[in-house]
């Protein structure tokens, strides 16, 4: 092969130039595009198409009927409730963490950033398990909680905690590098000119980072609504009570209710498509992930 420069390449009458092998470039180009598209079609597009094919397999009426199931509606409600609690909390956290980390110099900053990113490196099952170890029946606070008739695991608080854990870094890790890069000049000018801290935050910082914020919140929401492993561990799978949409999909699927399972899955797939659209639109404003 062309492992070494061909002997006398420069001395030859016909000097090799780029473009001379255009037919070879064309073959490589065609090969690359074909391999990429085939791979993506097999592992990505076929499964996506299957979701809708299976959901609509028995016709539109059956598809729509599956949403009339009270357990399905309860699952949708629970997922929305969870996201409505988790996303705002993690957004506030992300803004606070980014302000502290990007605006100030202090010791141990890189450790703090690493710790914030930690949940991304941990298996969802372990993320759920930690709350079972703390609040489960045989957990550290299990007996105490039972005495006071408070349920965390196998109830809404546990689902919220587990979801919060897995989506914890999503907003912060968008905002921290963005704020660091945009610098403090405008904020310092605003403070020097007499603006208060909150005013500076709302009138100067927030508009500067708004696209990063949207980006982080959208990804956080997608993960919060779609989380399976962590929530599965803490939920207890009580139908109509502690089943989120992804958990409900599992139950319907295992009962061979494929139309029902894929109907719920189709909603989550549409959510994923919507997430990608918002993400692409944000990127079109010139926002780049760092």
């Amino acid at each position: 092969m062309a492992a070494v420069l061909p002997h006398g390449a420069l001395a030859d009458d016909a000097v090799t130039r780029p473009g001379q092998h255009t037919w070879m470039h064309a073959i490589v180009r065609w090969l690359c595009i074909t391999i990429s598209l085939t791979f993506l079609a097999a592992v990505l597009l076929a499964p996506l198409a299957t979701v809708f094919a299976m959901a609509l397999g028995r016709g539109l009426a059956a598809y729509l009927r599956s949403f009339a199931d009270p357990d399905t509606l309860a699952a949708i409600r629970l997922t929305l409730t969870t996201a409505l609690v988790v996303v705002p909390l993690n957004t506030v956290f992300g803004l606070a963490a980014a302000w502290a980390i990007a605006k100030f110099e202090f010791r141990g900053k890189s450790v703090l950033i690493t710790l914030i990113d930690l949940p991304l490196a941990i298996s969802p099952v372990i993320s759920g398990m930690v709350f079972v170890l703390l609040f489960g029946l045989h957990g550290w606070f299990g007996a105490w909680l039972q005495e006071h008739d408070i349920s965390i695991v196998f109830a809404l608080p546990g689902i919220i905690l587990a979801t919060m854990f897995v989506t914890f870094p999503y907003v912060a890790r968008e905002l921290i590098p963005l704020m660091q890069q945009l610098g403090n000049d405008e904020e310092e000018a605003a403070i020097t000119l007499g603006a208060g801290g909150w005013m500076t935050f709302f009138r100067v910082t927030l508009p500067k980072v708004r696209w990063g914020l949207v980006y982080g919140m959208v990804l956080c929401n997608a993960r919060a609504m779609g989380e399976f492993g962590a929530v599965s561990v803490v939920s207890g799978h009580i139908r109509g009570l502690t089943n989120t949409m992804p958990l409900h999909i599992e139950i319907l699927y295992n009962e061979y209710n494929f139309v029902g399972a894929f109907a719920v899955a189709s909603l989550l797939t549409l959510l994923a498509v919507l997430t990608l659209i918002v993400k692409t639109l944000v990127e079109r404003t010139g926002y780049r992930r760092r």
Binding site: M1, A2, A3, P6, T16, P18, C32, I33, I35, S36, F39, L40, V43, L44, L45, P47, L48, T50, V92, F93, A96, A97, A100, K103, F104, E105, F106, R107, L115, I116, P119, S123, P124, V125, I126, M129, V130, L133, L134, G136, H138, L161, F165, F168, E187, T192, T200, A222, G226, F228, V233, M245, P246, I249, Y253, F262, A265, T269, A272, L276
Partner: protein
Amino acid sequence: MSFRKASVLPGFGLTFGFTTFFLSAIVLLPLAALVLSAASMHWGDFVRVVSSPRAVGSYRLSFGASLLAATINAVFGFIIAWTLVRYEFPGRKIIDALIDMPFALPTAVSGIALTTVFAQNGWIGRYLEPLGVKVAYTWIGVTLALTLISMPFAVRAVQPALQEVQRELEEAAETLGAGRLYVLRRIILPTVLPALLTGFTLAFARAVGEYGSVIFIAGNLPMKTEITPLLIVIHLEEFDYQGAAALGVVMLGISFVILLAINLLQAWGRRRHVRAAH
């Protein structure tokens, strides 16, 4: 104050305090509970749980399939990133946006969809069945699911690095008579190697912990198609919290060691790259 540098901006106390409080409450204390639960076991019990044949079988599958998936993604991720960066073709922008689909798609959805496509009578499975290839409910299915969910990591890591490869360098080499393979081996691959390793690491880390998409396609037979996260769930369902915590600690430990090794490899790659540039 030595802890932090002076600044005219207000709000350090509030935001730093809130950040550390929230981080400790939601992430650090729960994780400490995990480690302490495992640490409170008798050493003998701990060893018995984590070295049982069923546990060892699950490590083999979890880490083996994840390594395989990360390798597949390194290869296809490079080709896909190359295609997206270097070629113009109809639908390129849509494909580019679709790469992130596995991030946005809930794992349970990828799980049931992949299983349906690759089951015996599925769209693709029915063509593999006569060839004697069984995907669903075997280790191949596990690898496939892990490949899907970790694919964006590899592509997204390599893409910016490929954009940075200096085209002038390639053209100069070709003008001097180097063939495409030579250019690929000596100019392009060295430039993107660190990014490729990063993508590999991230894909691997994500795949090892994956649960949702795998349990549908795996079949979940002990010793054969049972991943470690599932074994943890089984221990939890039997209220064996300590056993679950022990397995969790082992998983964290092995992942940590592998990531550390790959990070060292990466640092070595960077050093080599810098030296070669001078």
